[in-house]
Symmetry: C2
Subunit: 400 residues, 2 copies
């Protein structure tokens, strides 16, 4: 097979997205013409500052918040770390208990582990088999010393959208001074995200998940919410994140967010249609397959299917040789060989979890040839099953 001539179908948009051409143009333009340090007093500094301010205002407007509430960071992981550590360190005298869920991104879970080592207590709210956080169970975990609840807006592996507005209302009713953070890395730019409607205090986003460059993200921090900075220095970003600001990337991020929200509803509907059609075709072509995660409250671009008797990682490698880029779980966990902690939290049986394949749609697969993709998935599953001890089993065939 000659790679060069092969049609490539990128189905891994949850890992990262191609930049919009307009974003590349904007970044290039800023790098070439606007190189000043925003902290400099002279005209080049003023110009860089103006571009940064305007990027911030644009991002804020697109999220329905105020400019002063947007802190630019280097990306989603840093934003999640800043949200959790920043809140914990600023409010540790009010309490040292944090509630999150078992299927958050590693940058939340590992930060919680680090905070635990510092003496904070962490409770993990369970999720159901469809990948939805159980509100009543979460509420039962709240304590008088709870300072923070962090629940992702949509799960990165199964795309299940969490009832954040409902969670916020219920937690604030329990006690209004508990802070709510949501990791919205998978939703911003893909489905409507109205910060005021969600009611959260802190929200994480990152540009490269919605057609922007890697290396820039943001943390929304509601006015009046006090968090401690994690990078000390020159007082940039409302004194919440020091370091010379990356003006070009900020401008690129603002452009990407603006573009990703243009005709968002129509585009979401188109992705949903494409996704549903792909799913139906796969399920009719391949036996012993089932969908992971809720199918209603789900990102329109996400499909996560398990195939019995195969390994997801093997599928990814073989599909890649056939020109299809997919993933077996999150990119951050790729290659570690361990089973997905997300599917484990959803109580997906090991045999099914092992064979999970994530297909995520976006601008990089607009011209997808569905029948080619389905054919390749069918062929790869057959190949892998023929070399494993897999035998179709009546019991496993029923979608548990």
């Amino acid at each position: 097979m000659r790679r060069e001539s092969m049609k490539q179908t990128y189905l891994d948009h949850a890992a990262t997205t191609p930049c919009y051409p307009e974003v590349v143009d904007e970044v290039t333009r800023q790098l070439l013409n606007n190189f000043g340090n925003p902290s400099s007093l002279h005209s080049l500094g003023v110009s860089a500052r103006a571009t940064l301010d305007s990027a911030r205002a644009s991002v804020a407007a697109d999220l329905g918040c105020d400019s002063s509430e947007i802190v630019f960071t280097s990306g989603g992981s840093e934003s999640n770390n800043l949200a959790l550590r920043g809140t914990a360190h600023a409010h540790q005298y009010a309490g040292r208990h944090i509630v999150t869920t078992a299927f958050e991104h590693e940058s939340v879970l590992k930060t919680c582990e680090a905070l635990q080592a510092e003496g904070f207590e962490i409770s993990l709210a369970p999720v159901n088999g469809k990948g939805i956080v159980q509100l009543d169970e979460l509420l039962r975990l709240l304590r008088p010393d709870t300072i923070l609840v962090s629940v992702m807006h949509a799960n990165n592996e199964v795309g299940a959208i969490q009832p954040i507005a409902e969670i916020t209302r219920a937690v604030k009713k329990f006690r209004p001074d508990i802070f709510i953070h949501t990791d919205a890395v998978q939703t911003v730019g893909h489905v409507p995200v109205d910060i005021r409607e969600l009611g959260v205090d802190l929200l994480t986003l990152t540009a490269h998940k919605f057609g922007g460059p890697k290396g820039i993200g943001a943390l929304y921090t509601r006015r009046g919410v006090r968090i401690e900075h994690q990078i000390a220095g020159g007082h940039q970003e409302h004194n919440l994140r020091s370091g010379t600001e990356s003006v070009a990337l900020a401008a690129g991020m603002a452009t990407a967010l603006r573009l990703s929200m243009r005709d968002q509803d129509q585009r979401a509907a188109a992705w949903r249609k494409m996704r549903d059609s792909l799913l139906a075709a796969i399920l009719s072509a391949v036996s012993d397959a089932r969908v992971n995660g809720d199918y209603i409250d789900r990102l329109p671009t996400n499909l996560n299917i398990s195939f019995l008797g195969v390994s997801g990682e093997d599928m990814v490698l073989r599909l890649d040789r056939r020109g299809i880029q997919a993933s077996s779980g999150s990119a951050c966990g790729a290659g570690h060989g361990a089973l997905s902690h997300v599917l484990a939290a959803m109580n997906v049986p090991r045999a099914w979890a092992k064979g999970a394949l994530r297909l995520t749609l976006g601008e990089g697969c607009r011209d997808m040839d569905q029948s080619y993709v389905v054919e390749q998935i069918k062929a790869v599953v057959a190949e892998l099953r023929s070399t494993s001890s897999f035998r179709s089993n009546g019991l496993l065939l029923t979608h548990q």
Copy 2:
């Protein structure tokens, strides 16, 4: 005065530098053609990973260290925070005492303040009137519980180059297990920096100070030196800094470093000549002026002159209107109105410190018209002195 038609002379390269055109090309090319997530298993991930690895290898080769010793970060402030907090947190059971100097960058000093609040003890080594750390005084501060010494390679305001190799040898002789960090943000790309020769355990660099993009830097971490990560998550960057790697910026940084080291000696000699000539012309045109900082052990691109009876910030604003971009101190401290902590540490009298002007050379002023610059400085000083109570004073005229 019409700005558009005015010749612009950028003399603020210590704040930030214009990107080399080749760097912009490289960043643009990567953003367009290599958007994969380096953690993805498929070919787009592999390609992104290969580019990242090759950028890392290139940076390591240019610094004389191994690839495994380079951790990419978002820039100098993050690298300094990671070096200090990372070492402090990893070795706090060996000791909780840190030695640094009074004239470090704010990202070092503020991090030390934060560590002090956590229970670490900080000692500040004094610098002499020329801006050079006094080794004997520094050695006197070492204690049995000292775990880290952090001294910048060259000061960002006065350009004084510190005897890091000598400091390292002396400190390691006192006790080999004290870690040495140097903030080399001002030297890398400008003067030879050979990490093995310096003997340090940790070294900070950032791309935008040597013709690279803003938003990326690195921390050299000598093999075997254990530090604690500050951003937790997906185990990127040898598990020392989580977050999806900014492949395009890393490639741009490697290109910038390579270019900035090409003919470095000849270029440094050219800058030195230009700088010396500029200084001589300024001193002969303007009375009551003197140089701040050592003039021998100094970055060839740095000039820091104080003018009695004026304010540095006023000078910066007025020079800007005449097409010359300069600074009164560090960009990070710009606009705060406070006197430079660097000049204070050097015991520069307040009257002189107030009138400090930093002129830093680089690619953005290759075609500088020296007589125009000197003329404008002379005019601006005269303007400002005429509106202040300044009277030339025989005593102050002598360079103290």
